[in-house]
Structures are given as C-alpha cells and as structure tokens.
C-alpha cells in the first residue's frame, strides 16, 4: 500500500510544474499579443490542472501501480502543444483542447474496459484486419481524402480523421501477439545461408506480408513517412522478439530496395525524395515547405525569438511563410521561437517517454506484455523521429504528426489510447514485481 500511493504521489507532484508551465506559456503568448497580462492564462492553467488531476485520481483508483512519470510527461507535451497551437490560432487551440478531453475519455475507457488486455491476443487477426482496413480506408471512394498527394484522411459525414494513427496501434498489437507465439520458431528454425542467418522459410511468409503491407502503403497511400514508421516498428519488434540482428539488416535492406524501386516509379514518392535531396531546385514550389522549415530554424538560434514572435504567414497576406505550422512543421516553429534549447527539451521529453516505455517493457513479465510495450513505445518514438527528421531534412518530409503537440484530433486521441495500453501493462508489471512471484508466471505458454 505504501508503494502504490508513492507512485501516484510522484505523479501528482510532477503534474504541478506542468500546469505552471502551461500558465506561463499562455501568459507569454498573451503578453505578446495584447501587451498586457490577463488572468485568463491562469484560468486556462487551472482548467488544465483540473483535468489532469481528475485523470490522476482516476489512475490512483484504477492503476495505482502504473508508471508515475508517463502521464505527467505526456501532459507536459500536451500543454506545450496547446500553447503552440493557441499561439498559431486561437480557434484551433479550442479544438485541440476538446480533443485533449476526448482523448482522456478514451484513455479512461481503455483503462476501464481493457484491464485484462490479454484479450487482445485472442482477437489478433481481427485487430490486424481492422488495422489494414483502416490503412486502406483513405483510398476507398466516397470517404477517402487526398492531401498533398498522399491518402491519409477519411471523412464520413462530419467526422474526419486520420486512420493511420489508430491503425498503428492495431498493427503493433497484432505483431506483438504474433511474434510472442512464433518467436521460438523464428529463433530455432533460423538457418545460416552464405554466412547470413535467415528466418525459416515457413515463417518467412508472414514477415513478407508485413513487408508487402509497407510497400503497399508506399504505393497506395503514397506516404513514405507512415510506411517507414510501420516498418521500423515491425523491425524493432522482430529484433526484440528474436534477438537476431541479421533479420533487421535483411528487413532494412528489403525496405530500402522496395522504397528505392517505388521512389523511382511512383511519382508522388519520387517527388518527396527529390525535394529532400535538392530542395533548392524549386524553392518557391515543391521545395518551399522544407526550405521554409529550415529557414525558420535558422532564425531561431540558440534561445529562439520568444513565444509568439515567429512569422507564420507573410505579413499582410494569408500566404504561408511556414506551411502547415500547426501540424507538419510545428517543430520548426518551436525551434524558431524557443531556439535550439527549447527544441532539445522537446526531443528530450520524447526520449524520456521512450525510456519510461521501455522500462515498462523491461519490467513486464510475460512475452506479450513485453512485446506490446516495446512495440507501442517504439512506434511512438519512431513517429516523433519521422516528423522531426522530416522537417530537419534528416529524411524526406512526410505528413506525420508530432505526437501530442501537433494540431489534430486523431493523433491526440490515438496516442492517449496508446498511453492507456502502456499504463495498463505497467500497472500489472509493477504489481507483480511488488508481490512475491506466484505460480502463475506463464511466460511462453
């Protein structure tokens, strides 16, 4: 009992600086816009703190042993995202706040009804099918939507969302379950051919299917970013499940060959790569977004220009100076306003979340929990890498959101579900670690 309240107490304490930061952030934006300090910033800060404390109490009741730092870290990102989005456009921030609340509701529902998350294993093929269907949905006539040449959105009546955000959770659940069952065979059956350890042919099939799915996404969804994100999460899981680094190398090679092939045949993918390599060839057209993203960063320097100081549109017009500032390029805006220091802090928060996520995986007792926690954490971290890497020209820029910071309901809600799953695993793992091991350690059954 002492231990369980200790974890939640730490969580509560960690939430206080988050609320203060949010208030300070809003205060800074208000000061910039109205040249005066209203108490509205404190009101927003108080609302935020209230919502966070409600969530905290819920966690105290439902998952007393869960990791104490994950929720405050995520709340920190969300607070930060809210301030950034508010600074871009007040009305967008209102949406974002609503989604935050919706996300927390789904978060609570997940925790409430998936306490026994092993049930997911039983429906793994259904879940995989749903995941794939979600991925395909944007190409379905009537509901699919094309944005900048990529098929990422779905619109059913008034409801529009990005199915890839939810699909990633389904796919990870499926992979964790599938690999938990087959990891032994994949290890034992491996053959050395020409000095390379290959998975057994019989089990190569499902792996090829995943590779095929990634390639399929590249061609039909035309999004290099999500394709990379899914495949990297798959390789991470494969590696953790089998311990065979050679599998990763083979997989990476296959992905690169496929990506290269499609990059040279599918025009949209080809353009993305071309813009990445030679943005200056078309600085006012195709290369505009990535160049403006980098110019915005160059403008930030070490400490940035300060909250609310960056130019997002060309003054006097509505033409974008930093296109998609509230979604794709929000990181560049952060560098511009908060400098290298602020941006490094953001990257560090993602890294801390990844560290806590992997810690959950380390503590988890059974294979499924371990792999699920690993997969969820990996896909989350890789998503952050894909978009930050995109706007910093490490890799081609694609339309993936920056988790919890970018404007976008699907992203926020899906990532809160992801967080709920992580906390569920964490609670069980830490509870088991706290109580003496019983006869029900069933790993590998």
């Amino acid at each position: 009992m002492i231990k369980r309240s200790a974890a939640r107490n730490r969580e509560l304490v960690a939430l206080i600086p988050v609320a203060l930061l949010l208030s300070a952030g809003f205060a800074a934006v208000f000061a910039q816009e109205n040249a005066r300090l209203g108490n509205l910033s404190l009101v927003y800060g108080a609302y935020f703190l209230a919502v966070c404390i409600a969530t905290h109490i819920f966690l105290r009741l439902r998952l007393p042993n869960a990791d104490p730092y994950l929720f405050p870290l995520v709340a920190l990102l969300t607070a930060f995202g809210l301030v950034m989005v508010y600074r871009i456009d007040e009305s967008l921030a209102r949406d974002q706040a609503n989604w935050f609340v919706l996300g927390l509701i789904l978060f609570a529902l997940t925790i409430q009804f998936l306490r026994d998350y092993d049930v997911l294993e039983r429906y793994r093929y259904t879940i995989a099918a749903v995941g794939l269907l979600l991925l395909l949905a944007p190409r379905l006539p009537g509901i699919g939507q094309q944005v900048n040449g990529a098929y990422l959105g779905v619109k059913i009546g008034p409801l529009a969302f990005q199915p890839a955000e939810f699909s990633k959770i389904c796919i990870v659940v499926f992979l964790a379950s599938y690999l938990r069952e087959h990891r032994e065979v994949l290890i034992v059956g491996a053959r050395r051919v020409l000095g390379v350890t290959l998975p057994p042919l019989k089990h190569l099939g499902p792996l090829l299917v995943v590779w095929g799915a990634s390639m399929f996404m590249l061609v039909f969804i035309r999004d290099l970013g999500s394709s990379l994100m899914f495949f990297a999460a798959f390789l991470a899981l494969l590696y953790v499940a089998t311990g065979r680094f050679s599998f990763v190398v083979i997989g990476m090679g296959m992905f690169l060959v496929g990506a290269w092939f499609f990059a040279s045949t599918v025009p949209h993918v080809h353009d993305r790569v071309e813009i990445w390599l030679n943005p200056y060839n078309d600085p006012t057209g195709n290369g505009y977004q990535i160049l403006q993203s980098i110019f915005a960063q160059a403008d930030g320097g070490l400490f940035g220009k300060g909250f609310g100081q960056a130019l997002i549109t060309i003054p006097g017009t509505h033409a974008a100076l930093l296109p998609a500032a509230q979604t794709d390029t929000i990181y560049s805006l952060i560098v511009n306003e908060l400098g290298l220091f602020g941006a490094s802090a953001v990257v560090l928060i993602y890294l801390l979340i990844a560290a806590r996520g992997f810690k959950v995986a380390l503590l988890a007792d059974d294979g499924f929990s371990k792999l699920l926690a690993t997969g969820l954490t990996a896909v989350f971290a890789i998503q952050a890498f894909v978009i930050i890497g995109g706007v910093t020209r490490v890799i081609p820029l694609t339309g993936v959101t920056l988790p919890f910071i970018s404007y976008g309901g699907s992203s926020i809600v899906a990532n809160f579900v992801l967080l709920a799953l992580l906390l569920l695993i964490s609670d069980r793992a830490r509870r088991e670690a706290a109580t003496p091991r019983g006869a029900f350690a069933l790993e590998g059954s």
């Binding site: 000061a31 040249a35 871009i88 456009d89 991470a236 590696y239 953790v240 499940a241 311990g243 200056y280 600085p283 006012t284 160049l291 403006q292 980098i294 110019f295 915005a296 960063q297 160059a298 403008d299 320097g301 070490l302 400490f303 300060g306 100081q309 130019l311 997002i312 549109t313 060309i314 003054p315 006097g316 017009t317 509505h318 100076l321 560098v335 400098g339 290298l340 941006a343 490094s344 990257v347 993602y350 890294l351 990844a354 560290a355 992997f358 995986a361 380390l362 294979g367 371990k370 792999l371 690993t374 990996a378 971290a381 890789i382 890498f385 930050i388 890497g389 910093t392 020209r393 490490v394």
Partner: protein, 491 residues
C-alpha cells in the same frame, strides 16, 4: 528479450541525437548561410516589422524613412513598414534601397544592422522581457545636401559619370553622385526595367563601380611614385620630345609638342606624356605598383558600402582580375593612365585626398553617427588612417605642381576666385565605346583636385563619360561648382 530492449533504446537515443545534431546545424552552425540565401525572405519580412531607422544628410535632410502601413489583421503582427525616400533620385546613389521583395543595396545594405537596431542575443532577450519593440537607429551621414544637389545637376547637364567629394582630414564622404540616377521609390515597381537598362545602367553607382581609364589624372600617382622612390626630385629634369618609342609603339604629346628638358611642375602643368612615360620606366614596376597599392589600387576601397558594389581599380588582365607587379605591363602607358588601367572615381578621389592630407589616406566613410530612437548618439565615426602612400614632403611637392595645373596649365576652369586650387585634368580616349554609341571621338573627361591648396578642406573628383571635349571643359567646372558649394558653408 531485455538485452534487446536496452539495445533498441540505445538505438532510439542515437536517432534522437541525430535530430538534435541536425537542429543545431540549421539553427546555429549553418544559420548565417541560410539567412543569406536568396530564397529566404524571412529576415527581410521580419525587418519589415521593425521600424527601420532614418538616414539623414549632414544638415538633417531626411534621405530615407520608414512609414507604417496598416495591414488587415490576420495571423501574426498587423504592423508593417515600408521605406520611403523623400528626396527621390538625388540620393539613389550611394544610399541604395531596402524593400522586402527587391532586397537591399548600397548604404542601406551595409548599415542594415544599425538601421534595424540589431543587438546581441541577450540584449534582445532583455528587450523582450521589458516588452519593448525592436526599433531601428537613425544614421546621420556626412553627405552635404547642397553639394550633392549641385553635383548631380551638373552631371545631368554634362553626361553620364560620377562626382565624389571627400574631406581629406577625416575621410568623410560629402558627395557621391552618379548619373544616370534612379529614384529608389520606384524600385518596387520597376526594378526589372532598371536592371534591363544596359545602356544607361541607372542602378550602377558609377562612383564606385564605374571603371574608367584614368588618363592623365594618373600622372599624379606616377609623380608620387617618382618622388617617393627618389627616382626624381622636383628639380630633376627629363628630356621630353614630341614622341618616344615605347615597346615598339609611338607615344606622343598632344600635337607632338617637343618640351625639351623640363622638371615635374612644367611636366604636370602641361600634362606631358613623353615625360611621364619615361618617368614610369625609370620608377619601374615594383615602385609604381607599391605606390598604387598604397593609394588603394588592387583592393576593395575601405568605404562603408557592400564589397560587391565597390570595384577594385587597377590594371585589368584578360581574366577580369587586376594584375600585380610581376605581370608584364607596358609601364610607359600605365604611367600616363592608359594601357589596361581602369580606376573608379572613388579611387581617384582617394588619391587626391591623400595628397591633400599630407600623404595620409583616411578611410572614406559615408556615415557620421548612429542615433538611437531616444535621440542618443550611440556611435560616432572615428576617422582612421587607411595607409600613408607618400610622405608629407612629397605631398607638398605634388600640391605645388598641381596648383600649376589650375593656375596656368590644362585645368584653368577649376579655378575659384580667392581660393588656391590644386588639381589635374584627364582626357582618356575611349573610341568605339558601345555605351557612347560607338563614336570615335569619345573621351572620358576627368578632373581630380582639392581646395584650398594650402589648407585642404575638400578633395573632389569629377568624371564624365562619352565626352567629345577635354577634362578642363567638362569635368573641371563641376569640380569648381561643387568645391564652391562646400567651401561656402554648405553644411
């Protein structure tokens, strides 16, 4: 599996380190290069939101100012400033322009940081905390409004060309006029048109970018090298026949006049080509180049204008670079300002100013002081010596010879009643010059000089393209008008 999870985390750490690495590269290490990119309009757009400081003439005449333009309130800040130039074309050179789409040029570009009030990063953080808007500083220039007006009006009467006037003791640039002028207010609407005008080239500041054969004005440099190297004294006589043979070509005096054995003052007063041709050979490559370089030839003049808008003077080889002392040149023709020698009016003004200032060449500077928005002078021009090309004695001897030019020689039109003037004319033949319509009788007409000769207050150069007359007819009167304006109080 735990070992792999830890390794996977290590890999993620590496990936994130790469992100921070790239972010630092763009935001710190490559930042300046990115800000200078043509495609990057962000710095200019940001500066447009800052009230850029004014540029003033020495007497307070407003040359450039920023006016607020209201902007439909959308995203971001609603305030925007646009540059206005109340005096129009009069200061198009050397002040230049500054607009968001068209970029900036000349003085506006060189002094950008002061005009936008750029401070250290910590300074601006402090300002931000105090809720203070960044505001630019005013710059007061040395430019004499009355003299600038006279110079440009005279030029517009005489032809394309330039006038530069520098205060010898400080290097303060009092006049810099270039004809064909342009009105910077028109730049936003007709920059392309101005750029396309390759005959009149209104955007070319002929004072700093007009490369002309200096002709006989260069004899001042040759004489300086002769005196300074000890090759001659003011008393040394050299026989000056009507014609000498140099490198297999004839080199003639005007009308092939034979002067016999004469000394420097007679030679300079009458601008005797054969005398200076022989002096050049006597001085030799090394000494002549040494003197030229001390006067500023072969390097970018140290003026407060962007380097790429100020051309080097010197002997131009075929590859478009200036030759140095080891390259083969026809010395006798260099000595009389011909060969492949090209000089800007600014460069020749630096020569005149150095002689006027007892041999010390001061750095020419257009700005005089920077005044912050609260009216405090935050920085003031501290005159500094660029080089000492000649001794005070040589300067005195040259001045004496140059006085002869105006009082009884080729430059009598530069004379001002009651004020001794020292100077030198130049009339360089530029036959077949496309810009002059390809005529065969076209000259580059020059006058370089300073006044008063005994206590110089101003050194002035006037250079006029495509003239069918001599330096004394075209350029010397401009010198006189500008000098009188400045000496009569100007500002």
């Amino acid at each position: 599996m735990n070992r792999q999870i830890v390794k996977l985390f290590a890999f993620i750490v590496v990936l994130f380190a790469v992100l921070i690495g790239f972010t630092s590269y763009w935001s710190i290490f490559d930042a300046q290069a990115l800000k200078d990119k043509e495609a990057n309009k962000r710095p200019l757009l940001e500066q447009q939101q800052i009230k850029r400081g004014r540029i003033l003439a020495a007497d307070g005449t407003v040359i450039a100012k920023s006016v607020a333009k209201s902007v439909a309130k959308g995203h971001g800040t609603g305030l925007r400033y646009v540059r206005r130039y109340p005096e129009g074309a009069l200061y198009g050179h050397p002040i230049g322009y500054s607009f968001v789409r068209q970029g900036d040029s000349e003085f506006e570009q060189f002094h950008n940081d002061e005009l936008v009030g750029e401070e250290s990063e910590f300074g601006s953080i402090l300002d931000e905390l105090r809720g203070r808007r960044q505001e630019g500083n005013d710059i007061v220039t040395n430019i004499d409004a009355a003299a600038q007006r006279v110079a440009l009006a005279d030029l517009e009467e005489q032809g394309f060309g330039a006038v530069v006037a520098i205060e010898p003791s400080t290097g303060a640039v009092k006049v810099m006029a270039s004809n064909k002028p342009y009105d910077p207010n028109r730049v936003p609407v007709e920059l392309e048109e101005l750029n396309r005008n390759l005959i009149e080239t209104p955007l070319l500041n002929r004072a700093t970018q007009g490369l002309y054969p200096p002709g006989s004005t260069f004899k001042v440099v040759t004489a300086a090298a002769g005196l300074e190297s000890g090759a001659i004294t003011p008393e040394t006589t050299i026989d000056a026949p009507g014609t000498i043979i140099d490198e297999g070509h004839e080199l003639n005096n005007d009308f092939s006049e034979d002067f016999g054995p004469i000394a420097l003052d007679t030679a300079l007063t009458n601008s005797v080509n054969t005398w200076f041709g022989q002096l050049g050979q006597k001085v030799g490559n090394d000494k002549l180049f040494e003197t030229m370089e001390k006067f500023g030839f072969n390097s970018t003049p140290p003026i407060d204008l962007p380097d790429d808008e100020v051309y080097n003077s010197g002997i131009y080889g075929e590859d478009g670079h200036t030759l140095n002392r080891n390259d083969p040149v026809d010395l006798a023709r260099v000595a009389i300002g011909q060969e492949r020698l090209l000089a800007t009016p600014l460069q020749m003004t630096m020569v005149a100013a150095a002689v006027a200032n007892g041999g010390k060449l001061m750095k020419p500077q257009i700005w005089n002081r920077v005044v912050d928005p609260d009216g405090r002078t935050v920085k003031r021009l501290d005159p500094s010596v660029y080089s000492e090309p000649i001794s005070a004695q040589t300067a005195e001897e040259l001045t004496a010879a140059m006085e002869g030019v105006v009082s009884e020689g080729t430059g009598t039109n530069a004379a001002i009643s009651g004020v001794p003037v020292a100077g030198k004319t130049g009339t360089a033949e530029t036959p077949g010059n496309e810009a002059c319509g390809g005529g065969e009788e076209e000259n580059q007409a020059w006058f370089i000089g300073f006044a008063p000769a005994d206590e110089p207050q101003i050194a002035i150069v006037a250079s006029v393209e495509c003239s069918e007359q001599f330096g004394n007819d075209v350029a010397a009167p401009i010198f006189r008008d500008v000098a009188e304006t400045i000496l009569n109080g100007g500002s």
